[in-house]
């Protein structure tokens, strides 16, 4: 699923098993189940970057990161 630019939540749907733990554990109700059952960030602006979805994902399929961090990391690699 395509992510918006300001979206801090990155979901790797190839590893996701649609268990729904990330959706239930989010304290700000950011995530929702999409059409195929995969979670997506419905309200990314509400995200407080607590990382609870990240540490509770049994399949390591979700990462919460600021986009600026990723850009910096990519810049360092290249």
């Amino acid at each position: 699923m395509k992510q918006k630019n300001d979206d801090p939540i990155h979901i790797f749907s190839r590893w996701c098993k649609k268990c729904g733990i990330c959706i239930a554990i989010c304290p700000k109700n950011v995530l929702e189940s999409g059409t195929a059952g995969y979670p997506y960030a419905a309200r990314p602006k509400d995200c407080i970057m607590c990382g609870l979805c990240d540490i509770h994902c049994p399949d390591y399929a979700i990462t919460v990161k600021k986009n600026s961090d990723i850009k910096e990391a990519e810049h360092e690699e290249t």
């Binding site: 649609k18 268990c19 729904g20 239930a24 994902c57 399929a61 990161k65």
Partner: protein, 277 residues
């Protein structure tokens, strides 16, 4: 903040197929994430860690993680780990076992390793059932819960793993759940640093073999059950003994400073006039 998913990519074996074999919603993945965060926090390199595992769902963990790993016979993981520790005391050994592996097939190994108090870290993943072999009841299946070998409910009293290892003499005993994943990695890093035999019991949901048979709901419902029924150890002690229902204490339950097996062994070596461990 340590990102689990990012840290995992460093520690997973690149030649293994992902997603892993565990069912959707299984808590073992969360426990594996906590273990990796704990190791990352303690700062040991991959070569300084040995991961020993037994058989069962939890035994797959040694296949996925890129440390020195040993996938051993059913219930005998602690015996293999004792051998490794005596051969090379420099190594940090983490033994991953399931509830059936640790308390049924390997029950004797567990109690005697506790008694010996050798410097190992045991992570016992308790999902209340034998998941991989088809949902037979294990020594930790609660009373009156259904399993494939107990169609009308078990009539045997379950083990309390933490009480068992405490009575047998383990130096460090802690319990956490998959809901308390952050606490779990704190407990694990304490246990890895601790000298002497340390046991961490991680309660983990099995939504397929245990949850579905006993109408416990989805993986999320089972995690919320952990949230609702867990208490800190001081709060748990305040409950009068007759009124404890399904509640259980989480956190550090035992933390003792006692000489471990290798310390005692080196004293014996000195006594006998030797100069090596």
């Amino acid at each position: 903040m340590i990102h689990t998913s990012e840290t995992m990519y460093k520690y997973l074996r690149p030649d293994k197929k992902f997603p892993h074999v565990w069912c959707a919603g299984c808590g073992i993945g969360i426990v594996m994430g906590a273990l990796v965060r704990a190791i990352e926090r303690t700062g040991f390199t991959k070569d300084e860690i040995v991961l020993v595992s037994g058989i069962g769902c939890s035994g797959r963990m040694s296949t996925y993680l890129d440390f020195n790993t040993l996938h051993t016979t059913h219930g005998r993981a602690l015996s293999f780990a004792t051998g490794i520790k005596l051969a090379n005391p420099e190594l940090n050994i983490i033994v991953v076992m399931g509830d059936g592996d640790a308390t049924a097939i390997g029950g004797n190994h567990l109690i005697h390793t506790c008694r010996r108090n050798i410097d190992l870290t045991a992570l016992i993943i308790n999902n209340n059932i034998y998941g991989m072999t088809g949902g037979q009841y294990s020594p930790t299946t609660p009373m009156e819960c259904k399993a494939s070998t107990a169609q009308y409910g078990t009539i045997e009293k379950p083990f309390d793993i933490c009480k068992l290892v405490e009575a047998c003499g383990a130096s460090f005993v802690a319990r956490s759940t998959t809901y308390h994943a952050k606490m779990l990695d704190a407990m694990l890093s304490r246990a890895i640093d601790k000298k002497g035999f340390s046991v961490v019991e991680a309660l983990s949901q099995c939504p397929v073999q245990y949850g579905r048979r006993n109408k416990k709901g989805s993986a999320v419902d089972m995690m919320m059950w952990y949230k609702d029924n867990s208490l800190s150890n001081p709060a748990f002690k305040k409950i009068p003994p007759g009124e404890v229902g399904e509640q259980f204490p989480v956190g550090i339950l035992v933390d003792l400073d006692e000489p471990d097996y290798l310390e005692r062994y080196s004293q014996i070596v000195k006594k006998a006039g030797g100069d090596r461990l």
